[in-house]
Symmetry: C2
Subunit: 615 residues, 2 copies
């Protein structure tokens, strides 16, 4: 955060939820202020006021009246609620501005994922019910007249104060005991839970926890201070297992080769260990301070993390080894943390609805009494839960890798240089890339945007076919296609196009998701309008333009105000469970009450899917 002395400045703009404040000259646009504050706000049209990608909400303060552009791009409802285009609205006085997730560039979102409000773990819990507690002890040193074993003298020191007796000391903790007591001159901070001693640390050491969201593609890790509950550092990294396959199906196949299962287990653990190393460097702490771990992931990642075979997750009827919650010795699994630390994993629901979705549901929490909530975690596999009238019905749909940029002609992951937003303005295609770098490909949110915009502007028909008579539709290889970026624009002599094939991939993906939503509604006999809130979670869910998703029918056409993008809710849930035993029990109860809907076993599946393919 930059606080500069600006002689011309008369006003201050504060951007939520980042908490960034910046002084600007009175009359500056909010887009200028955002740039000044180092915020990567989207601006597909380049500030011309002809798209709505820079939508923000003015919470309070004196701001210019809406411009004609704003009145065109924003609905009266939105304007009434304070929504404005950042490139048009000008600050006349001090302002507080709320930035919706969908107006933030991908680079910034990663950051947001680490401080989304969901991570606040105190909802409904005291916030002091950690699984691991600290106990400070002073131990009598041995002498000629006192030959008790180190473990005995520690036990005696703990119970002498009338405290609870010391629980079991696992072998790896015992192995550190004698050295630690002597190095620390017989004073120690113990980390312990109800069942075991976890670590013998130097006095005043902060106890830390590690939350891990192990995704098929990406791993997110969070280092938390167990006393304050604060996130000290966060790290995102590609799952190193991708070298053995992009999706879970190819990893399951690799695991079935000789030694493959063990290789994938160790790769995942090693990847986490490397991230832990970086987290600890960032926070200036030691990995031995990590006394508790929570890991969430889909069922396949869950099994890999625990060293369990995934074989039967790859063949019908897709039965996991275990669905109950687990608390395993982290060291035995290879995690380089405190010697006695356990790794807690919330329950899985079924073969393809994993502990990560349980974590999302836990993070989001139950809807208010009498309200209906739809929770969608979009990925290669999309999990959807409908929470209504005390019931939770969940399903899993094979939405495929199109949203990851795979199987798309010019597709790529959401990294720097990927087209992440597309707008059609008249006969021109405009786009914005991640990091505002020259375009090198199109990521999932860009493809989704492009399809929605081309349909809205009449370049695609209801069935996904290009209208050859539309001015922006050309042909490539005899097929209809639209050029998103010319070879000149990309700077590497290769144009970026969207083809009929790409449109079909998006149609299949969105139909899969919509079918899941519709069949869940069918199973609960609720009309789509009954949904009071749609919570969109997950990496991809955070990047997409919800308006585009609604326009192509992937999400129900409900008022925009009913949608909420919550970022990495699985990671937030993991952090909540790391800080609260009550939250773990909640996740277990929740998992026990979920009704699983097997979509492919549903007689309505084929018809529903077919009708969901069109726009």
């Amino acid at each position: 955060m930059v606080e500069r002395d600006n002689p011309a400045a008369g006003v201050t703009v504060e951007f939520q939820p980042f908490g960034r404040r910046v002084p600007v000259a009175a009359g500056a646009t909010l887009l200028q202020a955002a740039r000044e504050a180092g915020m990567a706000l989207l601006s597909v049209c380049g500030g011309a006021g002809i798209c709505d990608s820079c939508r923000v909400r003015v919470v309070c303060g004196d701001v210019s009246v809406p411009s004609p552009h704003e009145r065109e791009e924003l609905s009266a409802d939105d304007l009434g609620a304070g929504y404005r285009l950042a490139c048009q609205a000008r600050a006349h006085g001090d302002l507080v501005v709320d930035v919706p997730v969908e107006s933030i560039g991908a680079g910034q979102r990663l950051q947001l994922e680490c401080d989304t409000r969901l991570a606040e773990p105190t909802r409904g819990a005291s916030g002091r019910d950690r699984a691991v507690r600290a106990l400070d002890v002073s131990v009598a040193p041995p002498s000629r007249g006192d030959l008790r074993a180190d473990a005995t003298r520690l036990r005696d020191a703990c119970s002498s104060g009338g405290g609870r007796p010391l629980p079991v000391m696992p072998a790896p903790v015992l192995a550190t005991l004698s050295g630690a007591l002597r190095e620390q001159s017989w004073h120690a901070r113990l980390a312990l839970d109800d069942e075991r001693l976890i670590a013998v640390l130097p006095p005043s050491t902060r106890l830390l926890g590690l939350a891990v969201d192990a995704g098929t593609t990406k791993i997110a890790t969070y280092l938390l201070d167990l006393e304050s509950g604060k996130t000290l550092a966060a790290e995102g990294s590609v799952n190193p297992q991708v070298s053995h396959g992009e999706d879970v199906v190819s990893r399951i196949a690799y695991a079935d080769t000789a030694g493959g299962s063990d290789v994938l287990h160790r790769m995942l653990i090693q990847g986490i260990n490397e991230m832990v190393g970086r987290l600890c460097t960032t926070a200036g702490v030691a990995a031995g301070q990590i006394v508790d771990v929570v890991l969430v992931g889909n069922t396949v990642m869950h099994h890999f993390a625990c060293g369990l075979p995934v074989r039967n997750l790859g063949r019908a009827p897709y039965v996991p080894v275990v669905t109950d919650s687990l608390a395993l010795a982290a060291r035995d699994l290879g995690l380089e943390v405190a010697p006695g630390a356990r790794m807690y994993l919330p329950p899985n629901l079924a073969g393809y609805v994993g502990a990560d979705h349980v974590s999302v549901l836990t993070a989001v929490g139950p809807p208010p009494e009498g309200r209906t909530r739809l929770v969608i975690d979009i990925g290669t596999n999309t999990e959807i839960s409908l929470l209504a009238a005390g019931r939770i019905v969940s399903c899993s749909c094979a939405s495929g890798p199109a949203f990851e940029g795979a199987h798309i002609t010019c597709g790529m992951r959401a990294v720097t240089g990927a087209i992440e937003r597309v707008r059609v303005v008249g006969e021109e295609v405009r786009y914005q890339t991640i990091g505002e770098a020259p375009p090198i490909g199109i990521c999932g949110s860009g493809v989704l945007d492009a399809v929605a915009e081309l349909f809205t502007h009449g370049a695609l028909d209801r069935h996904g076919g290009f209208r050859r008579d539309h001015p922006i539709v050309g042909t490539r290889g005899g097929q209809g296609a639209v050029v998103l970026a010319s070879a000149d624009a990309t700077g590497h002599n290769r144009e970026l196009v969207l083809t009929r094939h790409d449109v079909t991939e998006i149609q299949l993906a969105k139909a899969a998701i919509r079918t899941g939503i519709d069949l869940l509604l069918g199973s609960t006999r609720l009309p789509v309008e009954a949904i009071d809130e749609v919570v969109v979670a997950g990496a991809f869910g955070s990047y997409i333009n919800l308006a585009s998703a609604r326009r192509i029918g992937m999400l129900p056409d409900l008022p925009p105000g009913r949608f909420r993008q919550v970022g990495n809710a699985a990671g937030a849930g993991a952090r909540q469970m790391l800080l609260s035993v009550a939250r773990r029990r909640e996740a277990e109860r929740l998992a026990g009450s979920v009704e699983h809907l097997d979509l492919t076993g549903d007689s309505r599946f084929t018809d529903t899917f077919a009708s969901a393919l069109g726009f």
Copy 2:
């Protein structure tokens, strides 16, 4: 056991405790019968009837009257109790003959160690209180309509019969669950204890247990059938750690080098794993059937087995990491047994009185009401316990490595070719070697015998000096010395001698042990005659000639009938604890009640030691 058709045979001789029966011609000596039966009976004088090394006891049957030689070598009491010289006594009818441990050659004793009566574990316990039980289950296979996780369907199958709920499934067991259930067509024999599932085995699999006596020099392992309690196979092997030092002091020093501790831990475990492999081959079973493990050892071996640092066992005040009993996950320590198996270790008493001595005390059991018992486990370090009037007082004495053949001029371990018995007959030194091979050195029992015989025959004075005027005393390097075997006899141009230095080593060793005995008696204010029974345990204790040990004052001069050699009682105790939870609790209670006497801290130590040096 050989059962041959011998036309001349009229009688059968049965040797106890081996249970070997052999038909021989009427009138054959018991020594001939023993050889016929493949028994390595000692016979230092070669059957001339001029030593008592082939002493046996005729339990019942028709035998020749004592010869003049027997009346000379054996006391009237011994003769009255049925003791005879095997080379003199002849079988006139069917006989049952008991072979005392001290009359058996070293080769045979190893075998005896495996079926000593101490290993019978049912003393005082029902014999059915195993730590691990079997449970046979049939599990419903998954189907489209039954997508429960494998762990859930196993749990449900267990509780459906109204049985106890299934305990925790550790990660390594979970990892085998899905494969095992499918390979076994959904039928399984579970091995489980009260806290966890240990293995998922094919139906009808025998559950096995492993008992380990991890000595500094030698490791003894026993494979037991947990149902019948029978020992299926036993293996003895040199502790592979000897490559990093003969004694615990040098191993502690090596463990203090970088990575040394881990190397020694893995060497020990690897050594046990290799023995397990051989045990399983012998018994025709799989290592995965081993669902329970008990390990006993001195405190240093105990710590190495558990992966605990031994550093503070090598520096005053010699404090162990832990003395309480432990039950650790065997797999985590590297043992290749059933995935959930625990390794139980009984408590240690103090830095130098280890779990192996607790195991000896457990195996031997308490003395009858009102009786006093001395239990001695002789080794490099000798542990002694005095059990009297409900008290147990224990101490440890640094008897040194002389009994292992170390620091002795022509010393060697008790292996083939070692002189194990010495008799002085007139002016001639007679000896017997292990395996009756040409002599290549002298092992501890041979040195002890030689010193006792030389003192008895006037070649040594009370202070351990050679009497130069004695006909068998010569000089070597200007010092008094006795040739035990000439260069001709050894066949390798090197004579085997006993020097003043060797006598001193034995004096130091025996004085250390006798000091321990005397100070224990002093601390309980009991006279030596109050000892009703002396139990001599341990590898070395089984090899020695007790008469020699009494003659040089290492053991108290009590009537021979009060002494009992029990072989590897530590291993027997381990087997008892493997078969009985009650026996484990007994070991723990026993350890909790032991009073430890720190000899070097005793003011009477120096005087007592000095007076114990002479003969």
